[in-house]
């Protein structure tokens, strides 16, 4: 396999890992203000408390890997999305410190302020990730020499905002399904109801986005005509999505969680399939787009990175498995909780 294609796929895997794992953290954050009292809010935060940090590392590693494998795309994308990216960083900072600081004082004002900041930061992060995906689908004004030639408002187009909303609903759904797995009793019944509502909203936005994409971005399915096996990702996506209401109805929280995780992975695979071989599409001139060919590192570096990934990833998967095993089961509040 071509090393560039391999790194395109590996970046997709890192991004999927991030979206699946931190996706439920952000979803729990979005739902946080729906919790009724302090105990429930602590339960919410503690359900992701030991995990969010490791989950965020998937994003950090994605960033490092993008920098190493496709430096041109890393440089162009982050300088183009300057302000949205700064907002995203602020959101991730507040999401992190809100959890750490909230429990350190008992005053309702203190806790209330961190509750709002936690929830708003999670919402904003989910929205911005979606907007970034939407903009990547549309293409952005990239001039010759890989330099961004637009402004902040060029990034907030209706389609990008639609994908942003889609992502918020997806992470909310995923978060509710995760809480369904981690809570019990009356709270779990309420969380399950939220999951149903989120599923309804997500499905509506998903169908709408799909139609808009097929109508207005024919480029998105060009690869499917060339490589028919890509329809497999579509099939996985549809089956996984259909299994969410089924497993919610049958009270199988674990299966519901696996289904929403699988549909996130399938959505990212479809996003990658729509994009390849482009990394950043120029809306000014297709020749100025950044592709896996003109944006990549040298073959030598891609090879070294592949070895690093090969040595490192088994460890990463092993740690992740150990941690999720240690913190399995329903969340309870103890003396070491937030």
């Amino acid at each position: 396999m071509d090393l560039r294609a391999l790194w395109f796929v590996l970046l997709g895997i890192l991004l999927s890992g991030y979206a699946i794992l931190d996706g439920f953290d952000l979803g729990v954050g979005i739902l946080h203000l729906g919790a009724r009292d302090d105990r429930e809010r602590r339960l919410f935060m503690n359900s992701i408390g030991p995990l969010w940090d490791g989950n965020e590392v998937w994003l950090v590693t994605f960033g490092g890997a993008l920098f190493a494998a496709f430096p041109e795309a890393y440089a162009t994308a982050f300088s183009a999305f300057y302000l949205p990216f700064m907002l995203l960083l602020f959101a991730l900072i507040f999401r992190a410190v809100s959890m750490e600081f909230r429990g350190k004082r008992s005053s309702p004002l203190w806790r209330g302020a961190w509750d709002v900041s936690f929830s708003a930061a999670s919402f904003l992060a989910a929205l911005l990730f979606g907007v970034a995906v939407g903009d990547s689908m549309l293409g952005i004004p990239i001039a010759r020499g890989h330099e961004f030639a637009g402004g902040f408002l060029d990034l907030l187009r209706p389609y990008a905002l639609l994908v942003g909303a889609l992502n918020v609903s997806l992470f909310t759904l995923h978060g509710a399904i995760y809480l369904n797995l981690k809570t019990g009793g009356e709270l779990q019944r309420r969380v399950r109801r939220w999951a149903w509502h989120a599923f309804g909203i997500f499905l509506t936005l998903y169908l709408f986005t799909t139609i808009v994409t097929l109508v207005s971005l024919p480029r998105a399915i060009a690869n499917f005509q060339r490589l028919p096996w890509l329809w497999g990702a579509v099939a996985v996506n549809v089956l996984a999505l259909a299994n969410i209401p089924r497993s919610l109805f049958l009270r199988r929280p674990g299966q519901a969680f696996l289904s929403s995780a699988a549909s996130i992975a399938a959505l990212i695979a479809l996003f990658g399939a729509a994009l390849y071989p482009n990394l950043i599409v120029s809306s000014l001139n297709p020749d100025w787009s950044l592709t896996v060919v003109n944006a990549s590192s040298s073959a030598k570096t891609l090879g070294i990175m592949a070895v690093i990934a090969l040595c490192g990833m088994p460890f990463v998967l092993a740690y992740t498995a150990v941690i999720y095993w240690v913190f399995r089961g329903r969340v309870e509040l103890g003396k070491f909780s937030y």
């Binding site: 408390g49 982050f78 602020f90 590192s297 240690v326 913190f327």
Partner: protein, 471 residues
């Protein structure tokens, strides 16, 4: 202000804020390993109490490090796009390796360290503590490798892509073990241990002065003073190795550090002096003739390259480099004196009664933190005007598509947010330190059977009512 100045200001602000936390994590990590190891070996519950107490502080500090660190990972792309294009092939792999080898290890086992006391066995917990400390060390390795490559580039070739040059890896191991990697890593890690030791010593001395939990505080003080004294003695040795290396590989930087305007044999080591850029000499200079020549080349009459050997456009800002470097050395010497005196006082336990020395130790965290920040700044300022030494100038490396007002906006927001976070962090830290380590479980024979039963029921030593008390 120009986009270059703004981007440099923002990088300085964000890295200096970030760098408050990782060295403390590295230093505290080692102390946690020592304390929890002592608990496992001796079974003394006091060590366990200490390990639990310092773990709480470690967790808050670690979260701040993660939150401010994610900014650094992406800022190369947002503000330094030209730089990213130039170095990505070389520099990116180090960052990616840091993520894969260090961050997953650290963040994963941090969960067990902080939340896992009653979920895993004591041995498994100790293993997690060791792995977190190791992860913190690994992340230092990779980030120092990346930064050292900027200081002393090696193992690369310059390749032209459509007329634009970029550095590509020629030998991965030559990049990793570029000439300054190991000496700089050793110095940075020793500095981090010094900070961890000073921080723990500071809080422990405070408890002793207040007469709180004297037995716990003594243990904590003893281990931190011993670590601090060792680090403070090793630091000048590693500094010496570095200085000789800098003299060979980045002579302009060494000249700026030492305020050496003229190349000369028998170069003096300045003890005091004020750099005067206009007259190109030091004012009010107090120096030992020949000592710099001896330190750098081990010969009193060896010539040392001064700033006059470089065209004005290739010289680092002299006054800033000079003061940053000399302040760092000053803080280091102060700490060495203080911690050696304290270590001497540990013999026979005289230290615990020497209130003036304890008071000085309470303040020791300030020069330790300052020395870490100053050292990092000196290394970066001394590299100027280059962003990659000898290859790419800082002024040519910024993002071309980002307008200056956007950078101004982001700096303002960073400044506000970081000021808020710093205030909250300090107040939370203050709160935790005032509360102190949890009380020891009551000794069984001294109390009634009810407490003994409670202790049996909850061998972790926690009170059964505590979970309800802390809403």
């Amino acid at each position: 202000m120009s986009i270059v100045t703004l981007s440099r200001l923002q990088f300085a602000l964000t890295i200096m804020f970030h760098y408050l936390f990782p060295p403390l994590s590295i230093g505290l990590g080692l102390l946690l390993v020592l304390m929890e190891g002592a608990y496992l070996r001796t079974g003394d519950k006091e060590w366990e109490s200490l390990a639990r107490f310092w773990t709480k502080i470690f967790a808050v500090n670690f979260a701040m490090g993660v939150a401010s660190g994610i900014v650094m990972e992406f800022q190369f792309g947002t503000n330094w796009a030209v730089y990213s294009r130039f170095v990505g092939d070389v520099f990116g792999s180090a960052l990616a390796a840091e993520g894969i080898f260090a961050f997953f290890l650290e963040s994963g086992f941090l969960a067990v360290l902080v939340f896992g006391w009653d979920r895993v066995s004591a041995r498994m917990h100790f293993l997690s503590t060791c792995l977190v400390a190791l992860g913190a060390l690994f992340s230092a390795v990779w980030i120092i490798v990346a930064n050292s490559w900027q200081q002393t580039p090696a193992g690369y070739v310059l390749v032209s892509h459509g007329g634009v040059l970029r550095a590509e890896v020629a030998s991965f191991w030559a990049v990793v073990f570029n000439p300054s990697s190991i000496p700089r890593l050793v110095h940075t890690v020793l500095g981090a241990w010094m900070l961890g030791a000073a921080f723990v010593a500071s809080v422990s001395a405070f408890y002793l002065l207040k007469g709180r939990g004297p037995s716990l505080a003594r243990k904590s003080l003893a281990v931190s003073v011993l670590l601090g004294a060792s680090a403070s003695l090793l630091l000048p040795l590693s500094g010496d190795v570095q200085a000789r290396l800098i003299a060979r590989l980045q002579p302009a930087k060494l000249a700026a550090f030492e305020g050496l305007y003229r190349s000369q044999p028998r170069a003096p080591l300045t003890l005091f002096g004020i750099p005067d850029g206009k007259r190109q000499k030091l004012r009010a200079e107090l120096a030992v003739p020949g000592l710099l020549s001896w330190l750098v080349h081990r010969r009193l009459d060896a010539p040392v390259t001064g700033l006059d050997a470089f065209p004005p456009g290739d010289r680092p800002p002299v006054a800033a480099s000079y003061w940053l470097f000399h302040s760092m050395v000053g803080c280091g010497l102060l700490l060495a004196a203080l911690f050696c005196a304290a270590a001497w006082g540990l013999r026979g336990g005289r230290l615990y009664g020497q209130r003036w020395l304890l008071k000085a130790l309470v303040g020791s965290v300030v020069p330790a933190l300052a020395a870490n920040e100053l050292g990092w700044c000196a290394a970066e300022v001394g590299r100027q005007p280059w962003i990659v030494y000898g290859l790419l100038r800082t002024r040519d490396a910024v993002s071309r598509s980002v307008p200056a007002p956007e950078v101004l906006l982001s700096i303002t927001l960073f400044a506000l947010i970081y000021a808020l976070l710093l205030a909250v962090w300090l107040s939370v830290l203050d709160d935790k330190i005032r509360r102190g380590p949890e009380e020891l479980p009551a000794a069984v024979p001294a109390r009634g059977w009810l407490e003994s039963a409670a202790q049996l029921a909850d061998p972790a030593g926690g009170s059964l009512t505590e979970a309800k008390e802390e809403p």
